[in-house]
């Protein structure tokens, strides 16, 4: 197993949400290696620091849609423009499921759009889902490149 095989970067500005995701993860049978950023700019800073260390690249990037400094979509755009990170699966998650937000996320290269889990049970399911994803889903060419 690589050192980054279960590494997930989570950008989330809400402290309570970060705590609850972290708690759900710690309670999981097979916890993920979560790294938290409290906004999009922090996520970008973390990725910058990992640019030349491919073995430490996250397996998935989870981005809250609305965040201060840089929001999820701006951060996603940056990620998709970086040769080192452009194929890392990225998920936008938000309490909004507004069709325009969903459409913009996919148009900018999101691999999934997830409605934020509102209960602890659903958070546990999200962690399990991310775990399965790190195991089974391979990074691939992006819709943006096809277009």
């Amino acid at each position: 197993m690589n050192s980054n095989s279960r590494h997930v970067l989570v950008a989330e500005d809400d402290e309570t949400d970060r705590f609850l995701i972290d708690r759900a993860n710690k309670k999981a049978g097979e916890p993920l290696a979560l790294a938290f950023a409290s906004n999009g700019q922090e996520a970008i800073d973390q990725l910058e620091g990992l640019r030349s260390k491919p073995h430490l690249h996250p397996k998935i990037i989870l981005l809250d849609l609305r965040m201060p400094r840089k929001d999820g979509l701006v951060t996603l755009e940056w990620i998709r423009a970086q040769p080192e990170f452009k194929t890392v699966p990225a998920i936008i998650f938000s309490s909004s499921s507004h069709p325009q937000d969903v459409a913009r996320a996919y148009a900018l290269g999101a691999n999934a759009f997830i409605v934020k889990p509102g209960s602890n049970d659903l958070r546990a399911q999200l962690i399990a889902f991310l775990g399965e994803w790190t195991r089974f889903v391979l990074p691939g060419p992006l819709p943006l490149e096809v277009l």
Binding site: T16, L20, G118, S119, N120
Partner: protein, 211 residues
């Protein structure tokens, strides 16, 4: 807007799970906080929906009411047998409407029709159209619920209005206000005819579908 509520709900669950054992007497209270937060969340959703209806741009087009009702019933098991019997008249007429708004209206009217029945009664709901004055179409949702006294009928469509008879049935008094607001956006009118013990017929008057 819903984030603080979700935090209250989730953190209360955390307290219950992690510390409930140390204070078992507090557990029922914590569970009540969670249930209250859930209810408030549903209320906030309703109010947000109400606000969206007032705001969004819409356009009207010919809309097949029968198809809309069938879609709603397919999606919602509580509108199907054995929980309820919903029927649509064969000769139902198409109307000039915004599909999403009309669908919301019908869903809300169906919600009420199956909810406000005497305990143990299986709801029977019939949806039909009839000609109204000035050539418009009156789309009717008729139920076998416990009916509404005349003095309360005019206030029914006000926001947060709940009738004495609805006590013990969950609701916040937003559903019919949404129906009225949505009908208004479609140049429509709403109303009800009802007698206690004899069920109610809620209606929306809209233009006949343009050919």
């Amino acid at each position: 807007m819903r984030a603080p509520l979700r935090a209250i709900q989730s953190l209360t669950e955390v307290i219950e799970e992690d510390y409930g054992g140390q204070a078992p007497g507090a557990v029922p209270h914590l569970q009540k906080i969670v249930r209250s937060a859930e209810r408030l969340d549903r209320l906030v959703c309703d109010v947000l929906q109400f606000a969206r209806i007032a705001r969004n741009e819409i356009s009207l087009s010919p809309t097949n009411v029968g198809d809309l009702v069938r879609e709603i019933v397919m999606d919602r098991p509580e509108f199907r047998t054995p929980k309820a019997h919903v029927s649509v008249a064969i000769d139902i007429v198409s109307v000039q409407a915004h599909e999403a708004l009309l669908s919301q209206c019908l869903a809300n009217l169906l919600d009420n029709a199956v909810k406000y029945v005497s305990h143990g009664t299986v709801p029977y709901v019939r949806i039909f159209t009839e000609s109204a004055s000035s050539g418009r179409v009156r789309l009717c949702v008729q139920d076998n619920g416990f009916g509404i006294e005349a003095e309360h009928q005019s206030k029914l469509f006000e926001l947060f209005r709940r009738l004495p008879a609805s006590e013990g049935y969950e609701g916040a008094g937003v559903g019919l206000a949404i129906v009225k607001k949505a009908a208004g956006r479609m140049n429509g009118e709403v109303g009800v005819t009802s007698s206690p013990g004899l069920g109610s017929t809620f209606w929306i008057e809209l233009d006949k579908a343009h050919a």
